[in-house]
Structures are given as C-alpha cells and as structure tokens.
C-alpha cells in the first residue's frame, strides 16, 4: 500500500512507466490522482500508453469530465465578459480559466473550479455593481466576513450566479493585502496580454509567479502537487518559447517581492517533477525543502491525507503568512466563537 503520492509523481514524470503497474497499483494511482485533482492531467499524459481496459475507461471518463469543465469555464468567462461589456479597462483571467483560454499545456486536463478575474482596485465597486446587475449574488451574508474580505483580502467576497450556479471571484491583486510580499498589481494589469475575445491573461512571467504565490503564500499547500504541476508545465512552455524567459522571471519576481518563493518553486519543480532548467540560480536545497516535499506528497494509496502534524503546521503557517499575528489571533477567536471552521 502506497504511503505517499510518489506513484502519481512518477506516472506524470514518466508516463511509459505505468505499463508496469498491476491492477492494485492502478486503483491506488487513480485514488491518489483524484484526491490531488490531477486525474485529468494523468489521463492526458498516458493517452498513448498501454493500460488495462477498465483503466482506459476511467481515464477516458476523466478526459471527458475535464473537457466539460473547460467548456463551462470558457462559457462562464464569456458571461462575465458580456456582463462587463460597458467596463472599459482590462479584465484579466486567472488560474485554470486563463490556461484554457490561452490554449496552454497547463490547461489540458485541468480541473477548474470558480472563475477568477483581476481588475484594478479602484474599479471594484463598478465591477461589483455590473455583476450584481447581470444576475450574480453574494454567497455569504456574514457581516464580519464581508468586512474582513473588503479591507484585507485581495478579492471581493464570493459571488454566485443565480441561474447558472457558478461562482466568480473578483481579485485586485494576487496576494492578501496582509501578506508580507507586496506584488505590484498595477504592473500585472499593465502588462496583461489581450486575447481575441477582448479578455486578458497575465504576461507569462506574472502567470507563473501568480501560481507560485498561490502555492506558498496563499494556502496550506493543499492541492500543492497540482499547483506545482501547473508551474512545471508553464515553466517548460514559456522557457521553450523564449530563451530570455527565465531572466524575465527573475526580474519580475524582484518587482513582486517573490524571489524566495520563486527559487523554492524552481527547486521543488526540479526535485518532484524533474523540471530541468538552465540558469535556475542556486540549486542548493534549503533544509525546509524536505518539509515541503513531505507535505506535498502527503497522500496515501487510499487517497487519504497523511502526515497530520506537517499539515497542521502548514495551516497555521499559512494563516500567519496571510495576516499579522495579532490579527490572526483575533480572526481565529472570532471564527471559533461563531462555531466556524477549526483547523483540521
């Protein structure tokens, strides 16, 4: 029985290797891949490899399910575009929707949840009004949460469309305002690239750095393997297309205050997914890298999250990264008093 997610990582790195798997290992691989939201990516990676019949059916299902997710994501983006037809400034797609809209490898087989868009901070009220007018509604009517989001977080409180039942998250920067790194939101918007339909995606370096920011500074590494796989594919695609890409990535990281995170992401992508990049800079493994790898691979052959102590450490740390300690205490206290979520 697999004790960690190595089976999945190996299959993604080296698709031909799955020909050696027995049926029990396939069952585990499928559970791990589903738990890490990577089954669509896995299915595409092993499309041309010989697999047992039932496995082929499972993987084909995954491909079709992710095709549907892609279709729905693009439609949702189009609905937002139409709702914001009068808004003159840039609407920048983010994350999975951006990858499929820009036809990137990272979008192939990608599971996509809500629609994430980024606009200029001063335009939030007018964007909010247009969305509400076009059939979106607030998800949570909680006044404390609302206040917290508006003043501190990097996005409007979540909105859901009343008929289509799909959520939209409207961001004005890529990290919470209370987090330590201060990315340059204006630079991201200024350099965003236009798509044919009039929506925008981030410039390549910003796209990679957003994914990196999301992986480390904005979460407890839940879904980290999927996030790192995105980063791996984006790095490969952009560095193959442009020999100056890695240099651009470094200078952009400087602007956004994400140099440490970039270096760590490059080391982890190399170590876990075998990303080989020239000019990676220092490849000295930081001691903390081992802890990150341990956390990223913490999934067993049943699909359960393992290594609970490591996970809790990351959860508290992620809240720490998002807000200063005093605020954290106050925030957690209020949440627990109201019977809200406890850290798992």
């Amino acid at each position: 029985m697999m004790r960690d997610a190595r089976l999945l990582v190996d299959a993604l790195r080296n698709p031909a290797s799955v020909e050696m798997l027995d049926s029990g290992q396939w069952t585990e691989l499928i559970s791990i891949a589903r738990a890490e939201s990577l089954i669509g990516s896995l299915a595409h990676r092993v499309k041309d490899v010989a697999v047992p019949d039932r496995v082929r059916a499972v993987l084909q299902d995954a491909i079709e399910a992710h095709d549907l997710a892609r279709q729905q994501a693009l439609w949702e983006a189009d609905c937002a575009r139409r709702a914001l037809a009068e808004y003159p400034s840039k609407i920048v797609l983010m994350k999975g929707t951006a990858y499929v809209a820009a036809n990137l490898d990272a979008g192939v087989g990608r599971s996509i949840g809500d629609l994430d868009i980024m606009v200029a901070r001063e335009d939030l009220p007018v964007v909010e009004a247009a969305l509400l007018d076009a059939g979106w509604e607030w998800v949570k009517p909680d006044p404390y949460d609302d206040q917290y989001y508006r003043e501190h977080m990097h996005e409007l409180p979540p909105l859901i469309h009343r008929e289509r039942d799909r959520m939209i998250d409207v961001h004005h920067t890529i990290l919470p305002l209370t987090a330590a790194p201060k990315p340059d939101a204006k630079a991201i918007l200024d350099d965003a690239v236009r798509l044919d339909n009039g929506l925008y995606v981030m410039a390549p370096a910003d796209m990679v750095l957003h994914s990196i920011a999301h992986l480390f500074a904005d979460g407890d590494l839940a879904g980290g393997l999927r996030n790192l796989w995105d980063i791996n594919l984006l790095l490969r695609h952009f560095s193959e297309a442009d020999e100056n890409f890695l240099a651009e990535l470094q200078s952009r990281a400087q602007i956004h205050g994400l140099r440490v995170e970039l270096a760590r992401a490059l080391r982890l992508a190399a170590r876990i997914y075998g990303a080989s990049l020239d000019n990676i800079g220092s490849v000295e493994t930081a001691i903390s890298d081992n802890l990150y790898v341990r956390r990223l691979l913490a999934r067993d052959g049943y699909g359960r999250e393992t290594r609970k102590l490591t996970r809790f450490a990351f959860y508290v740390r992620s809240h720490w990264l998002r807000m200063p300690p005093l605020m954290l205490a106050r925030h957690l206290w209020t949440k627990w008093r109201k019977g809200g979520q406890q850290p798992k």
Binding site: W26, T27, S31, R54, E64, G303, T306
Partner: protein, 289 residues
Amino acid sequence: MGEMHQILLKIGPAAFRIASAWRQPLDQLVALYSDYPLLVDQSVDFTVRLEPEKPWRRLLRPSVHIGGDFWLPDAAPLPLTQGLLAAEMGMNLQMALGWRRHLLLHASSVEKDGKALIMTGLSGSGKSTLSAMLAERGWRFMGDEFALLSLDSGQIFPFPRLISLKNEAIGAMQKVVADTRFGPEMKATPKGDIRHLVPPKAAIERMDEPAKPALLLFPRFGHAPELREMGKSEVFVRLTQASTNYVALGEGGFNALTRFVDQVPVKAMDYQSTDQAEEMIHDLWGQLP
C-alpha cells in the same frame, strides 16, 4: 494513519473498492454480496472510504464518515452499526458524482420479455418496494436506485445492488422472501428503519444484460388507484431533476434523454397497495405494442 481493510465488488458495469477502518461493514458486505462476481486482481472504477469521523471515533462510539474518490463536503456521519448503509451510500455517491458511461436516472427498473419497466419519483413513491415485489413475481430485478440509460443504444443497463427497504416495506417483503436474503436491521437511520435485501440470483447472474425501455411510470403511493397521462415537457424536466449526470454528459445526454422521452410511453400511477400497482402494471404491459 489508521489501518484500512478493503474488498472489491462488481455491480453491473461498475467496480468498487470499499476501504474501511473497521472490518465489520466489510464482513457484512461480503456476506450479502456472496453471489456476486468475485473480483481479484482487477482495477476498479471507484474507491469508497469509511473512516472515523474524528480519530478518537474509531473505537469510542464509533462514527463513520463516508468518503472516497468522489465526496461531498458536509456528509453527515453514521454510527458504526449503520456501517453497511454507509458503504451503500458511499457507492451511490461515487456513481452519482463520477459515472459517465450511461445517463443515470434515479429510478428502479425491472425486466420482462426483454423489455424494461422504469419507475421514478421522489422518496416515498414506492419505486424501491415495487421493484422488490415485482422481482418476486416473475420480473427480473435490474436496480432500485439507478437506471442506466445507454447513450448509444438507448437500452437500460442493470445496476442490481442490494435493495434498500424502508419501514413498512421491510415487513411486507419479509412475508414473501427467505430470511437469509436480508441484511441486518438498522433502526432510526436518517431515512427511517432500513433493511437491505439481496436481489434474486437470476438478477445477479444476468447483471450485464440490458433491456429496451418500454414503459416509464411515476408511481405515487398512498392515493386512490389511478393512471394519468403526463405531458412530455413535464416528463423531460422531471427526468433531468432525477438525473445526477445529465449536465455532465452534454450533447450525448441531451440526445439520449430526448430520444427516451419521445419513444417511451409514460404514465403517472397512484396506488394504495402493491397488488393494485401490479394489476395496473400488468394491464399497461399487455397494451404495449
């Protein structure tokens, strides 16, 4: 991490790995599914996980959280005494959220002369009980939870799991079926008193044989016996509401369901006893082309 036990099950076209922190639900499944094909050395479509709700709930007032490859965030836990129910619900959840190879209709189905009778409706409509009764009266049981509609052929495929009997239906079936075919009594579950019934051997042996859908019924228990026509628009809407994967199947789902609604005669059937229902069904069946 706690130790997990596991078994493999094949039901109709779907294969499951049921993993559990406790042996008891698996032992119960093995006993009740003993006539089903034995899966060894085969991969599966889904994994169901039965785990303690909290680590200390493994032994002390053990509480089962239902999870698996596909899961819902707010699934309420069940006591270990209802572990068998948890396993069945876990399998339902995997199918409902993850099955794509057929259009799923929340319906029971039985077969006679190569043709399928499909019964759909809300909880309490009696579709499960009717299918169990008809299975003892000359019909082949195909399923009581999901009817599987093929996107290509328009045929109905069996998914013959343990039949889930509730409250009064338990007593009614105990009068006509041997005790050995019943699972444990589970009282006061979220859905009332429940007992599982193993389908007849013939249903299990023929679990891979489809049938052409010939009649769709919307049964309603507890009303004076009556048959009513239903408009096709209403039928279509109600079937999309009764299908967990209609949207996920896109154009294929649309074509399969419109063809089904066009071709399959439909009636709303009110009844007060299974005998009344059986009589109305017999008459309708005889009038089919």
